[in-house]
């Protein structure tokens, strides 16, 4: 099927970020003093387990960041493109996306959650729970067959997951064997006792956990709504997976927006001191005393008005939602650079008195060059730590902001909109709990993995923690 790839602004930034990370990895690999802390991250079991889980989240997010329009049937010689923008993730989850129900249905249900008046074949009307259009539609007698079918499919998924895991484990063992030039059995023992420099055991454990959950879910998802459906009948699992990208984009891009402010202003304040320092300090003290939510709400509403008045600039709903997402990143970034800036100022105040900076001054090296060459590289460990630590905070902030209605566009699926949509249904009897639970579990997994990874990064980069352990 022909298609046309379309880059949204956030896609562009996400892929630029990926390119940047790859570039940094290549740069770091060749420099032992830069790669040393990453080697320490690799040696941390919790860090590597968290990184494995994060990897799957990032993979989901990246798949969701390649958008395309599929071709419509040719009419009048001119190729026409669909008005709907889909991502690779949508394509992979096509069965989930397409299998809409009428309204709420519980996880793994075969019938709708609410009674409806239906016209029976003999012409009578009755109020009953109608069969779902997709969930368990293949079953002749849902009451009798459902659980057996679910168990059989789950088992099939579980077996497939185990198989995949063994393939991965053998791959890891073979790789270790090649590196250590030993037999594959010895290599496996090495991996399994956790003696490899990179904690492959932790990676394999986390991979196992992810596969054991994902395998049965994937096997069931083709014929059931594993996490139920929401008010408009959309699959909740699909929503949760789509939310991952929104969370990741907010978490990473907003942090990136904070960086230039924090880095430039923090280093300048610390290096020049005097009135420049005073000015920058006043700036961030003032900014951090304005309630952040108010500022964000105001900015987002202004952005919304602007978008609505300039519809010609933003031709489709996807683009409008995307612009609003970016605006949210920017405003979140602008309101949250003060903490890092303060940290960097303090560190630079200390560094500028160091003797290599003074030696450079004695050579008449320009201020700009001293800041670029001698100060910035030496505060990068703080930046690194702040980056990964802020990430989870921003993911949570998005959820809160969307919940109160100043976050992402309501048409964009995110954890916040999921929670917002689910909150009224909590009061229903019987309760509709699955939307909230799905958002909660996914967000917990993402933020917990990010926090564990951040801890590992901080331990590896923080010179004080290292000094405490290593000093003779």
């Amino acid at each position: 099927m022909p298609f046309r790839v379309e880059l949204l602004w956030s896609d562009l930034l996400v892929w630029l970020l990926v390119a940047g990370v790859i570039g940094l990895v290549l740069y770091t690999r060749k420099r032992p003093h830069l790669s040393a802390p990453w080697v320490r991250v690799g040696a941390s079991a919790s860090g590597m387990a968290a990184a494995t889980v994060l990897f799957f989240f990032v993979l989901t997010g990246l798949l969701d960041s390649v958008h395309y329009r599929s071709a419509l049937p040719v009419q009048g010689g001119k190729p026409a493109w669909s008005t709907e923008l889909h991502s690779l993730l949508d394509r992979a989850l096509e069965p989930l996306r397409a299998s809409r129900e009428k309204t709420y249905s519980a996880p793994l249900a075969t019938h709708l959650f609410a009674k409806e008046t239906v016209v029976l074949p003999d012409g009578r009307e009755d109020r009953l729970f109608p069969r779902l259009r997709h969930g368990g539609a293949h079953l002749a007698d849902p009451q009798a067959d459902r659980w057996a079918d679910v168990a059989a499919r789950a088992f099939r998924g579980f077996s497939l997951a185990l198989l995949l895991w063994f393939v991965a484990a053998i791959g890891v063992a073979a790789m270790t064997a090649r590196r250590t030039e030993s037999g594959i059995e010895a290599a496996w023992r090495e991996v399994w006792s956790g003696r490899t420099p990179l904690q492959w055991r932790a990676v394999l454990c986390a991979l196992g956990a992810v596969l054991v959950v994902a395998g049965p879910v994937a096997a069931l998802a083709t014929h059931y709504h594993v996490l139920g459906t929401d008010k408009v009948g959309q699959d909740v699992l699909y929503q949760a997976l789509k939310s991952v990208r929104t969370g990741l984009v907010i978490g990473t891009l907003a942090t990136l927006v904070t960086l230039p402010f924090a880095l430039v202003l923090g280093v300048m304040a610390g290096y020049f001191r005097g009135w420049i320092d005073d000015l920058i300090q006043y700036l961030y003290t003032t900014l951090s005393s304005i309630p952040g939510v108010l500022l964000i709400a105001a900015a987002v509403l202004m952005m919304q008005v602007y978008v609505e008045n300039h519809q010609e600039l933003f031709p489709s709903t996807e683009i409008r939602a995307d612009v609003r997402l970016l605006a949210l990143c920017v405003i979140l970034g602008i309101t949250s650079w003060t903490g890092l800036c303060r940290l960097l100022r303090g560190e630079v105040l200390k560094l500028r008195e160091l003797e290599y900076v003074q030696a450079a001054q004695a050579f008449g090296v320009s201020h700009w060059r001293i800041m670029m060459r001698h100060l910035t590289p030496n505060v990068m460990h703080i930046v690194m730590i702040a980056l990964v630590m802020d990430f989870s905070g921003l993911v949570l902030a998005e959820a809160v902001l969307s919940y109160i209605g100043v976050g992402v566009d309501p048409s964009m699926i995110s954890f916040g909109t999921m929670i917002n949509g689910a909150r009224l249904e909590m009061a229903r009897e019987p309760m509709v709990w699955w939307s909230l639970a799905a958002a909660f579990v996914f967000m917990l997994a993402l933020v917990l993995a990010a926090n564990l990874f951040a801890d590992a990064v901080r331990d590896a980069f923080d010179p004080r923690l290292r000094a405490a352990g290593g000093r003779a």
Binding site: H33, L354, E355, A359, A360, G364, R373, P377, N378, A472
Partner: protein, 669 residues
């Protein structure tokens, strides 16, 4: 000798790190008799502090005692449960550390901190405990103990804090006091006070002391027996007198030879080549073999055994094994005395001329940051240096000597005064002009670890000055220039691609010197360039600086607190006290016939590495006053043993003793 108080037998401590475990202490055996002062001396990283911590069982988490016995009065300390060990620490064995500022809790008054130890280990409570605290503070000569007991650590100077630490250690009359570099962080005049105190306390209380130090001078003044440690092992033990008369182990004798005060001026110091071996490998022979000049063929392959050489001394060296005895000769390579001394005349037109330099730091207060006072770090300093000569600037910490160096380089903007470099007024230059003249004056810093950017490769660091000053036509010329420089300071050009963390302190200091030399300066400000280095490495660096001066006709402003180094390096010397120069002259005049009472006290306080040499008993009271609020008149009068009424009123005028020696003191007017 009666049964020893403390006996250590085969103590082995390893430290687990990233790679192979470090054998920080490797089969150490020694014993201390009751009432004896035993010194453990060695260079940094040889395992002295680890020995002390192992005895106290206070090792860091990564450390582990893997073998040996430590017996205190017949009781095996390594077998005791931790709860018993806690009773013992501070009670029967007490310890004081190097950094008194870090050993005291900043939010408790010092009285409480002493009382804590009293209450922990004795039954004294309430008024009795308070009385005991005052008694202890008196015992360590804390002036005005009653009032001081209610003060917090930040109100006390470094010397005072160390006295408090000693008072805490003495709280229960321990049988053994372990002092880990107790005076290293202190100034020389304060160090003399603390050493006197330790010696007196040890004698009056019959307490044994394990003194850990790198300073042979301190050993000579305080200890009765000495053990020399090298790379985790003791290589020689001897009574102090015999040891200082003729050290037996080649390492010990080289240590002496590398002391600047023992070598004559104009002689090259006998530096020990290389550096201490890493302790994470196994040794098959003598650990010193690869640096030893008199190594025998078997030294590299066979572990040397202990050999008794009489008078209670023992050496771990093959030279004393069989018939090789006497192979040692104290050969000191006599460099041709074509020293820099005679080749230049004193009244040569000067390269650097500083007159009335003042560097004041404003003290700001209040909402609008009004200036309410000044810290007069440098308050009217005048000096001059002729081409090819060295001026030593000496003084205690906080006297402003580093600020002089930075002020004349305009790393700190001076408040007033003039600095002429080769006739050009350095302070009147605009920023652009200054940049051009920067190549004339360069600086070498104290801390070799802070003076190189850890993220910049050596080659790039050396090139930085050339690029900034626009020296050198093209990259090729610059690279060959850097190669030549590295070879000149004793490194190979292939270090260019490496990062600073791969180098030892001495190598880093060589790199820092090469960096300063890169722009071909005429004057180098050496700001304590060797005070962070071990004695043997210090000798290497001093030799290098001397050679460079000879070959390039460099001038040095050599800033140091170490009299011996100044004596070795400088042609002229200026003594600074609290922002002002109090005495100035040729090095021989000032050090042989000091005229100012401060210079005299300073010289008397230096512990000589010779137990025979009786020190003249000039003891300064108190500490350096604050430069924020210096005393009226002569700054030195509150501590001066011979102060007169007019000292309080005005700063004394210069009094010349020869064409070169000048002192500022009322007593000589």
């Amino acid at each position: 000798m009666s049964a020893p108080l403390l006996s250590v037998d085969g103590l082995t401590t390893i430290i687990h790190g990233g790679g192979a475990p470090l054998r920080a202490v490797d089969g150490l055996s020694f014993s201390i008799a009751a009432g004896e002062t035993f010194a453990l001396v060695g260079e940094s990283g040889c395992g002295k502090s680890m020995t002390a911590l192992s005895i106290m069982r206070l090792l860091p988490d990564a450390g582990e005692i893997t073998g040996g016995r430590v017996e205190l009065q017949g009781e095996d300390l390594l077998a005791l449960p931790e709860s018993r060990m806690r009773d013992l620490r501070g009670h029967r064995v007490a310890m004081i550390f190097q950094e008194p500022g870090l050993s005291l809790n900043p939010v408790m008054t010092i009285g409480e901190q002493v009382a804590e130890s009293v209450r922990r280990h004795t039954a004294l409570r309430g008024a009795a405990a308070d009385a005991r605290v005052l008694e202890l503070l008196d015992a360590v000569r804390m002036p005005d103990a009653q009032r001081r007991a209610t003060e917090y650590p930040f109100q006390l100077s470094g010397g005072m804090k160390q006295r408090v630490m000693i008072a805490i250690a003495l709280a229960c009359d321990p049988a053994l006091l372990i002092a880990d570099e107790p005076t290293t962080a202190l100034d020389v005049t304060v160090q003399a006070q603390v050493l006197d105190l330790l010696r007196e306390l040890q004698q009056s209380r019959g307490m044994a002391m394990l003194l850990i130090t790198h300073d042979l001078g301190v050993v000579a003044q305080v200890a009765q027996r000495v053990a020399v440690m090298y790379a985790g092992q003791i290589v020689e033990t001897a009574p102090v007198d015999a040891f200082f008369a003729s050290p037996a182990h080649p390492y010990a004798s080289k240590l002496f030879a590398s002391l600047p005060e023992r070598a004559g001026r104009g002689h090259t110091l006998a530096a020990i080549p290389g550096s201490v071996p890493r302790l994470d490998r196994a040794f098959s022979g003598c650990r010193f073999a690869e640096r030893c000049e008199v190594a025998l063929p078997q030294c590299a392959g066979t572990l040397p055994q202990w050999h008794e050489v009489g008078q209670g001394r023992a050496v771990r060296c093959h030279l004393y094994g069989s018939d090789e005895r006497g192979a040692m000769s104290d050969e000191r390579k006599a460099e041709s005395p074509a020293s820099s001394r005679s080749s230049f005349i004193t009244h040569h037109s000067s390269l650097l001329e500083v007159s009335d330099l003042k560097v004041w730091f404003p003290v700001r207060k209040g909402l609008f940051q009004r200036t309410v006072g000044h810290v007069r770090a440098v308050d009217g300093v005048s000096l001059s240096i002729a081409p090819g000569r060295t001026l030593g600037l000496v003084g205690e910490s906080g006297c402003g000597k580093t600020t002089v160096g930075k002020g004349l380089l305009r790393l700190m903007e001076p408040t007033a005064g003039r600095v002429f470099v080769d006739g050009m007024d350095f302070l009147a230059l605009s920023r652009g002009e200054l940049r051009q003249r920067r190549r004339d004056v360069q600086i070498v810093f104290q801390d070799p670890y802070a003076s190189l950017n850890p993220r910049v490769r050596i080659g790039d660091a050396l090139e930085e000055g050339l690029l900034a000053l626009g020296i050198g036509a093209d990259a090729e010329w610059r690279q060959s220039h850097i190669d030549a420089l590295l070879e000149e300071v004793g490194l190979t050009p292939d270090v260019k691609a490496r990062y600073p963390h791969e180098f030892s302190g001495g190598q880093r200091q060589r790199i820092a010197i090469a960096r300063a030399l890169a722009v071909e300066p005429r004057l180098i400000v050496c700001d304590e360039p060797t005070s962070a280095l071990d004695v043997s490495v210090q000798a290497q660096i001093l030799n290098l600086l001397k050679r460079l001066q000879r070959e390039r006709g460099l001038s040095y402003l050599f800033i140091s607190h170490n009299m011996a180094v100044i004596e070795y390096m400088a042609d002229e010397v200026a003594v600074m006290y609290l922002g002002r120069i109090v005495e100035q002259g040729l090095v021989d005049e000032v050090l042989r016939t000091p005229r100012h009472p401060y210079t005299q006290a300073l010289l008397a306080a230096v512990p000589a590495a010779d137990p025979q040499q009786q020190r003249r008993a000039i003891r300064l009271a108190g500490d350096l006053p604050s430069p924020l609020n210096p005393p009226q008149g002569c700054h030195f009068h509150p501590r001066c043993p011979v102060a007169m009424p007019q000292c309080r009123e005005r700063f004394p005028a210069a009094k010349s003793w020869s064409s070169t020696q000048v002192a500022y003191c009322h007593r000589h007017e």
